[in-house]
């Protein structure tokens, strides 16, 4: 059973597992998903990409940021059957840029092409996940989803966190 102790102004409660088994009756205020003040996930309420999302690491802000933004935007808005199939050039530009900064974007040469496809297909999953997740956890579980979500190099990127 739980017991209580008061030390001056501080109250101490010890609880056992059983004490906490009953669901809490504490009331929390419902969150407004469109609250402009709140930190947004990867996809904003109006459908745009949140380039400042912590989950992207610094992909959108590094030296290859503009190429990354073009490629990812193209993919995001792509309505093709194979999503992003018209964005090959953009992705290539991005890769070329990233190759110029091997320190920032560590290359894993053999995995590149396969990862590019893998990431392209899984990016479609990311938007829904990204916005569903509470903003705070974006950099935790969010990182793992967007790891695959963002382009090939970012996988090692976000893991490594040596570069963005």
């Amino acid at each position: 059973m739980s017991y209580c102790r008061q030390e001056g102004k501080d109250r101490i409660i010890f609880v056992t597992k059983e004490d906490h088994e009953a669901p809490s009756n504490a009331e929390l205020i419902a969150d407004d998903p469109n609250d402009p003040y709140e930190e947004q996930g990867l996809i904003l309420p109006n459908g745009d990409i949140n380039w400042n999302c912590p989950c992207l690491g610094g992909m959108a802000s590094g030296p290859c940021g503009s190429q990354f933004k073009e490629a990812f935007s193209c993919f995001h808005y792509s309505k093709e059957e194979v999503k992003g199939s018209e964005c090959i050039d953009n992705f290539r530009n991005m890769q070329e840029c990233m190759q110029r900064y091997p320190e920032l974007y560590p290359q894993e040469e053999d995995k590149e092409s396969t990862q590019a496809e893998a990431s392209s297909s899984s990016v479609s999953a990311a938007p829904t996940e990204g916005s569903a997740l509470p903003p705070e956890t974006d950099s935790t579980p969010g990182t793992s989803t967007s790891e695959s979500a963002v382009s090939s190099d970012s996988t090692s990127l976000v893991d490594n966190q040596t570069a963005s």
């Binding site: 809490s24 205020i29 400042n52 990182t143």
Partner: protein, 718 residues
């Protein structure tokens, strides 16, 4: 001139004539109106009756002519001015070139100016390239310079605008300073609506000829393709985004700006020699590294096995300062080793310690702070100061690491986050290196200002078990250096002999720029006073340790934690690019004291507030180490744009389970209340539940039973 006068002469009698005509007409109508009052006064225009027609036409013609004449005159004058200006520029540039070769020491780069050439209708601005300059001329930035025209015609007194008229032969030998100043076109303003573009001016200090031609603005440029200065970088004289300070907040802002403003050009100016790095590992992870070369590599291993550097980005991320303006897609440039000494808010520019001036459109002040020192140590003299470390930067870590290997005893003064973490880190080494680690502080226990007393006492015991000699309720009275050892005398008479002191007694926010910038400094918390959107003035934001900001939920405060630097830096960057968001996402902080004690906290965590703690018994699974191993991410701070390491490598196995079962406060949640509302929460050895804590604080509700709220955390779960 003459034309004007003649015109005016003609005009005057005509004006008189027409007015008399007017009056006569009115009188006539006045008579009639008396007879027919119902009609009301008849308003006769001067052009009405046929009698005044011819005169009036002439009148109009002459007025028109006068107008045209005036316009013509103005045009001629301005044209002549610009021509004269051009000539002057050419002369000066040729002159300055001669001077430059004669005085290679003066190597200030200047920019060609952008002058307004107001014409009666339009507002194109001419850009004379006065001298070969690699940088692009500063774009006429109307938004930044709009504020300026409201100023007086002559620039403010503290920035003497000098017009080195070529007529003056006395050329000052002083080093000309490149300035950018908008000059309002004084007498041309009635005719034009042009906003004065930024004007680069030279300021030969000695020869001040205040407005040799007061009627027109004389922007001047001294272009110096100066002799090769040995170490000066080519600093851009204008940058759209200027970030003062090169720490966590600054980097977060740079990233935010670059993400939101495509192609943004960001310049970071820091007086440190290192690019931006994270501070928490300096007092935690780096000390537990197995790598003997860690002081050089500054890399640490996170619990998930992944290694990373404390630097946010490797040097290749940043572009050179001189390439900033020409970079096609913008970038982040860093100027290291430069201190900003003066800030001119009206002129939107700053001055460095080498007298270079840089103007900006938007500026962030993220100057952080300087470690406080004890007065007794400062007064104790140089011998004592040499054996004292004020711990904050990379070089402090390096020197303390070296010291810890070479001395027998280190005393840490201060019982807060930094002091306790360093004590635990050094305590870990105490067995390896035969090092005595002493920690002393005025409170009753470690983290005495943060944790409620019972928890603070419990923590102190933990710190002691890390190999630290803890002296609580210790007030330092004096420190002397005797026989190459330091003697610390406490107020209650105790004497502590040690080889080296680490002072961890707080941070003094760096508000050096407040005076020159005219920014408000908060008297309660220190730091620059800013609003909820981190704004100090319209183009100036402050973030990080130096910002005393208004938290909508928790009131005005100043926070000195890493995650806050990231959150506020990012917010400032967003607001600098037009977001206008207040501080809303509550930052968190964390600390680890050995492998057994780790906590995450959020909000106002002040031990003077009433608290309610809900605890469960800890099992062996509830330690920081276990938490990260389980989640496999090694992430503590959520707002972090980079992963951070959590707890140190626990290479020792303590007498674990027995000891832990005795713990009363193994894990739990502690609520800090202010007027019955939860304003702060500590998650004690309970991890990955920060979002719930954040939500509770955000709601700001009065909860009748906090035990029910504690249930939300599932503290018994693994």
């Amino acid at each position: 001139m003459l034309k004007c006068r003649t015109v005016w002469k003609k005009l005057a009698p005509l004006a008189r004539a027409s007015s008399t005509v007017c009056r006569q007409n009115v009188r006539r109508t006045g008579l009639t109106s008396r007879r027919i009052p119902a009609c009301g006064p008849v308003a006769h225009m001067s052009t009405g009756p046929a009698g005044g027609g011819r005169e009036n036409q002439l009148y109009i013609l002459l007025v028109g002519a006068a107008g045209v004449g005036g316009a013509l005159y103005t045009y001629r004058t301005v044209k002549g001015d610009s021509q004269r200006y051009q000539d002057r520029i050419d002369e000066i540039s040729s002159r300055s070139y001669k001077r430059a070769t004669a005085e290679p020491a003066t190597s200030i780069k200047s920019e060609s100016s952008v002058i307004p050439e107001p014409e009666p209708e339009a507002a194109p601005s001419q850009e004379p390239e006065a001298a070969p300059s690699p940088e692009e001329p500063s774009p006429p930035a109307p938004d930044a310079e709009v504020a300026a025209p409201e100023t007086t015609e002559l620039p403010p007194a503290d920035e003497p605008v000098v017009e080195a008229s070529p007529e003056e032969s006395a050329e000052p030998a002083a080093v000309p300073v490149v300035e950018e100043e908008p000059l309002p076109p004084s007498e041309l303003s009635p005719l034009t609506e042009l906003l004065p573009a930024p004007v680069v001016e030279s300021e030969p200090a000695a020869a001040e000829s205040p407005a040799a031609e007061p009627t027109e603005p004389q922007p001047e440029v001294v272009a110096e393709s100066g002799g090769p200065a040995p170490d000066s970088l080519k600093v851009p004289s204008h940058t759209p985004y200027l970030l003062i300070g090169g720490g966590t907040a600054s980097f977060a802002a740079a990233r935010s700006i670059r993400a939101r403003d495509p192609g943004a050009k960001v310049l970071i100016v820091t007086d440190e020699s290192d690019p931006p790095y994270m501070r928490p590992p300096l007092s935690k992870e780096l000390w537990f590294s197995d790598d003997p070369g860690v002081t050089e590599t500054l890399r640490f291993k996170q619990w998930n096995g992944k290694e990373r550097s404390i630097y946010f980005q490797p040097p290749s991320f940043y572009i050179n300062a001189e390439e900033l303006n020409s970079a096609e897609n913008g970038g982040v440039a860093i100027l290291t080793g430069k201190k900003v000494v003066h800030m001119d808010v009206r002129g939107n520019k700053i001055k460095l310690d080498d007298d270079t001036e840089i103007s900006y459109d938007k500026c962030l002040i993220a100057t952080g702070g300087v470690p406080r020192n004890l007065q007794v140590i400062e007064r104790a003299g140089e011998e004592v100061m040499k054996k004292t470390t004020l711990f904050r930067k990379i070089e402090d870590f390096k020197s303390l690491d070296k010291v810890s290997r070479n001395v027998k005893s280190i005393t840490i003064i201060g019982g807060g986050f930094l002091g306790s973490e360093l004590a635990c880190a050094l305590g870990r080494r105490s067995t390896e290196y035969d090092l005595e680690v002493v920690q002393m502080f005025p409170e009753k226990g470690n983290m005495g200002k943060v944790l409620p007393e019972y928890l603070s006492n419990w923590t102190t015991e933990k710190v002691k078990s890390e190999g630290v000699k803890v002296i609580s309720e210790a007030l330092v009275k004096s420190v002397v250096c005797k026989d190459d050892k330091l003697e610390i005398k406490l107020k209650d008479g105790r004497l502590v002999k040690t080889d080296h002191i680490v002072a961890a007694v707080g941070l003094e926010p760096n508000v050096d720029l407040a005076k020159s910038a005219g920014l408000e400094v908060d008297s309660d918390f220190g730091g620059f006073r800013v609003n909820a959107e981190l704004q100090a003035r319209s183009n100036i934001w402050v973030a990080g340790d130096a910002a005393c900001f208004y938290d909508i939920r928790l009131g005005r405060r100043r926070v000195e934690h890493h995650d806050h630097a990231v959150v506020s830096g990012r917010l400032a960057g967003e607001n600098m690019t037009g977001a206008n968001k207040p501080y809303w996402h509550q930052s968190m902080f964390w600390s680890d004291l050995g492998p057994d004690v780790g906590y995450e906290a959020i909000g106002i965590v002040d031990s003077s507030l009433p608290t309610v703690g809900v605890f469960a018994k800890a099992t062996a699974k509830d330690t920081p180490k276990a938490a990260t191993e389980k989640s496999g991410t090694g992430i503590r701070s959520e707002s972090e744009t980079e992963e951070t390491a959590t707890s140190p490598v626990a290479s020792l196995t303590l007498a674990p389970t027995a000891e832990q079962n005795k713990d009363e406060y193994g894990k739990g949640v502690i609520f800090y209340l202010r007027d019955k509302v939860v304003v702060g929460i500590i998650l004690w050895n309970v991890f990955n539940r920060m979002p719930i804590a954040r939500k509770i604080i955000k709601d700001g509700e009065e909860h009748a039973d906090l035990n029910e709220v504690a249930k939300l955390f599932n503290i018994h779960d693994d």
